[in-house]
């Protein structure tokens, strides 16, 4: 083996082994309830019964399951991988403990250790206003600072949200993403479990971020969290989610549905750092509704998973509403990040900005898939779309699928797309200043990501740069 080839192989094996050590471990478990593999009306019924849900929710689930069966698998994106999903070889419901805890001391030691390793209690102490930690199907730990509670802010896991505030859930659940939206939103609606429920009262500013962390532990697991965030008039909230899973040779499925509602003048930012292991299919539907003068921002980082298909959407339904989607995707060996953004301008004088950055390395593939739709009544809209792709190595691939449907001629639309390669000249320049080729390449990649990382809270920016650094080690330039 030549030296270069050996270095490359060492580098590649390093990536996997490091994920395994840092995030890819799994716990031996003794679950409160572990169902059988496979999906049926009986399984749907069992989930709903175990959660002691009201009849209306149970009916929604059953209907959604029928919809799931009727809906075809998408015929776009990575159809080869999508068709590999064996829905009968997945666990749909695993309940690790009897009920969610409000103190880490009450969480079983092995689960607490996992979240310790992931740094969650530490982050909670230092800069978060509230934390929700989901393990398999349910949230095992949940807590929010007392001063935030006193302001009337509701931050619960979704199951608790349904139990304690059924009228709010009934009003908004599925109002932004109907079960029939797509096959995976139907699946989520049928078997959803966990996720976050947030309500911010009018005029309240949640000054510190709220965070949820999602952990899959079991093999062939299906995680279907459901999140609903309602920001009432003039309120502000920043929600952050992170996720990891053990490394297994077989695939697991993560299929979430996230609905955001920003009422008049409200501001919602939703930040995701997705770092699933490379055996996870991450098929997620995220959509927000921004009412008059409201602002919704999706800050969406995708580093992990085998296949991600996710296109955060903002529906601008009230005059003066603003939507921003800033996404970054990193596709390494055997990964496909099919990410993007959707903005629907359904009211006048609304504005949106989409910034998509993708990095493909080795045989990784990153796609930008975007839709901008401007309805007939939406005069005076402003749209800006910017897609930047960076390729590292000759086998890396990047595709762009932008769609614009514009039914109003009094709008301003800007669209820019660029694909660049890490150029030999740039690397030489950095090397001539003493940086090794790997250090130089990493610096170029970090610079490329900078418009994204600068939007993250400092702790997450550091973590994201570190993740990228791991991914870049021993890169095949």
């Amino acid at each position: 083996m030549s030296d270069t080839l050996k270095q490359q192989n060492d580098g590649l094996s390093k990536i996997g082994s490091d994920y395994a050590e840092k995030y890819g471990f799994h716990d031996p478990v003794d679950y409160f309830h572990k169902g059988a593999k496979g999906l049926s009306h009986e399984v749907v019924e069992m989930i709903s019964r175990m959660k002691k849900e009201p009849d209306w929710m149970r009916e929604i689930r059953h209907q959604a399951y029928d919809t799931f069966l009727e809906k075809p698998t998408p015929k776009w994106g990575n159809t080869a991988l999508l068709n590999e999903i064996d829905f009968q070889n997945i666990f749909y419901f695993m309940k690790p403990i009897d009920a969610s805890k409000t103190s880490w001391d009450d969480v079983p030691e092995y689960i607490k250790r996992t979240f310790d390793k992931l740094g969650i209690p530490e982050a909670e102490k230092n800069f978060l206003g509230g934390v929700s930690a989901q393990y398999e199907s349910e949230v095992v730990y949940h807590s929010m600072r007392d001063d935030l509670k006193a302001k009337g802010i509701l931050f619960l896991d979704m199951d608790a949200g349904l139990r304690e505030f059924p009228e709010i859930v009934k009003k908004y659940f599925g109002s932004v993403i109907p079960a029939a939206d797509n096959k995976f939103s139907a699946l989520n609606t049928a078997v959803w479990s966990g996720g976050s429920f947030i309500y911010v009262p009018p005029g309240v500013d949640v000054t510190v971020p709220l965070q949820a962390y999602f952990r899959i532990n079991a093999e062939n697991m299906g995680q279907f969290e459901r999140t609903l965030i309602i920001a009432d008039k003039g309120s502000r909230v920043h929600y952050i989610e992170g996720c990891t899973a053990p490394v297994y040779s077989t695939d697991s499925l993560h299929s979430a549905v996230v609905e955001l509602i920003a009422l008049e003048g409200a501001y919602v930012r939703y930040t995701t750092i997705q770092n699933w292991s490379r055996n996870i299919y991450n098929l997620v539907t995220k959509r927000a509704q921004a009412h008059k003068n409201a602002t919704v921002e999706w800050v969406d980082g995708n580093i992990g998973s085998r296949l991600t298909m996710k296109y955060p959407c903002v529906q601008l339904v009230g005059e003066g509403a603003r939507g921003e989607i800033l996404s970054v995707a990193f596709a390494g060996i055997d990964q496909h990040q099919d990410a993007g953004a959707k903005v629907i301008h359904a009211a006048p004088n609304t504005s949106s900005r989409i910034t998509s950055k993708s990095i493909s390395k080795d045989n990784g593939r990153a796609s930008y898939r975007g839709l901008v739709k401007i309805h007939k009544n939406a005069t005076g809209c402003k749209v800006s779309v910017e897609c930047d792709a960076l390729l590292i190595g000759d086998d890396a691939r990047s595709d762009t699928y932008p769609t614009m449907e514009i039914d109003n001629d009094q709008v301003s639309v800007e669209h820019e797309a660029r694909v660049s390669k890490v150029a030999e000249e740039q690397l030489f320049y950095l090397q001539s200043r003493g940086l090794t080729e790997d250090e130089g390449r990493l610096l170029i990649v970090n610079g490329f990501m900078e418009p994204f990382t600068k939007e993250l809270p400092m702790e997450y920016a550091v973590e994201l740069n570190r993740l990228i650094e791991l991914e870049m080690e021993g890169s095949i330039g």
């Binding site: 320049y429 003493g434 250090e439 130089g440 610096l443």
Partner: protein, 256 residues
């Protein structure tokens, strides 16, 4: 080191770019404290020589030797050459979007020292050097060479040289694209950098830089060869008479 040992020495260097030989047997010895200038018309191979000496992968040294402090550099990657004390100020410095000048500088210093530079020492030194090169402090937080004018890029190259304090600096057409004020500032930067312990090789088309940075030796390069060497007076003669003036056996030998 004895004064008899060259700081930087190249012997019979041949450079091939894209299958074509562009430098054909150049030899040069630069002693500590010396400034040399290589002058030549466009396409004479002088930029190729500096790129090859720094270790650009597209510029292959197919024959010859090159030593820094008596140590061969030809088996080193560009970054190893840099850490060994060689520096190249680029004719066309590249933009690195998203990486600020200050962060880049810190990364480079870390690469040289093997550890992070002390923050307050770094800031102090960085400000002093920026001030002497008349670079606005806001450049520290601008992305490296991204949207910089030609003159700004050249100043930042000299800033990097000042910060990294190499033993041997190759300056490739550092004067090109500079107005007279910028030329003076940049020249002053080179003179401040230069000491009895280091060496400078100026690669330039025009004589005007040499009005401000006084070379000890001037070499004329044509068609990939040094065809004439002399003192500073050689540069003035070239200024007056142009490169056509060089004729005779040397030029014939070079195939001019």
């Amino acid at each position: 080191m004895s004064a008899k040992t060259p700081l930087f020495e190249i012997k019979n260097v041949h450079v091939v770019v894209a299958g074509k030989e562009v430098v054909s047997g150049v030899s040069l010895a630069i002693y500590p404290g010396e400034i040399h200038a290589i002058m030549g018309p466009n396409g004479s191979g002088k930029s190729s020589l500096s790129n090859a000496l720094m270790g650009h992968p597209a510029y292959a040294i197919t024959e010859g030797e090159a030593y820094l402090n008596g140590k061969s550099i030809l088996d080193m990657e560009a970054d190893e050459r840099s850490r060994a004390g060689l520096f190249l100020a680029f004719q066309y410095p590249l933009a690195i979007p998203g990486v600020t000048v200050a962060n880049f500088m810190r990364a480079a210093l870390k690469a040289h020292r093997g550890k992070d530079a002390d923050m307050s020492d770094f800031r102090k030194l960085f400000k002093i050097e920026m001030d002497s090169l008349e670079i606005d402090h806001n450049f520290a937080t601008r992305y490296l060479n991204d949207g910089f004018s030609g003159g700004e890029k050249k100043r930042v190259e000299i800033l990097q040289m000042a910060m990294l304090a190499p033993k041997m600096a190759l300056l490739d057409e550092t004067d090109s694209g500079l107005d007279i004020d910028a030329l003076k500032t940049v020249s002053a930067g080179i003179n401040r950098f230069h000491s009895d312990a280091n060496g400078v090789l100026l690669v330039t088309h025009y004589q005007r830089l040499l009005n401000y940075v006084k070379p000890d030796h001037v070499h004329v390069m044509m068609s990939g060869k040094l065809v004439k060497s002399g003192g500073p007076e050689l540069a003035l003669k070239l200024e007056d008479n142009g490169y056509e003036w060089i004729e005779g056996p040397a030029a014939e030998k070079a195939g001019v």
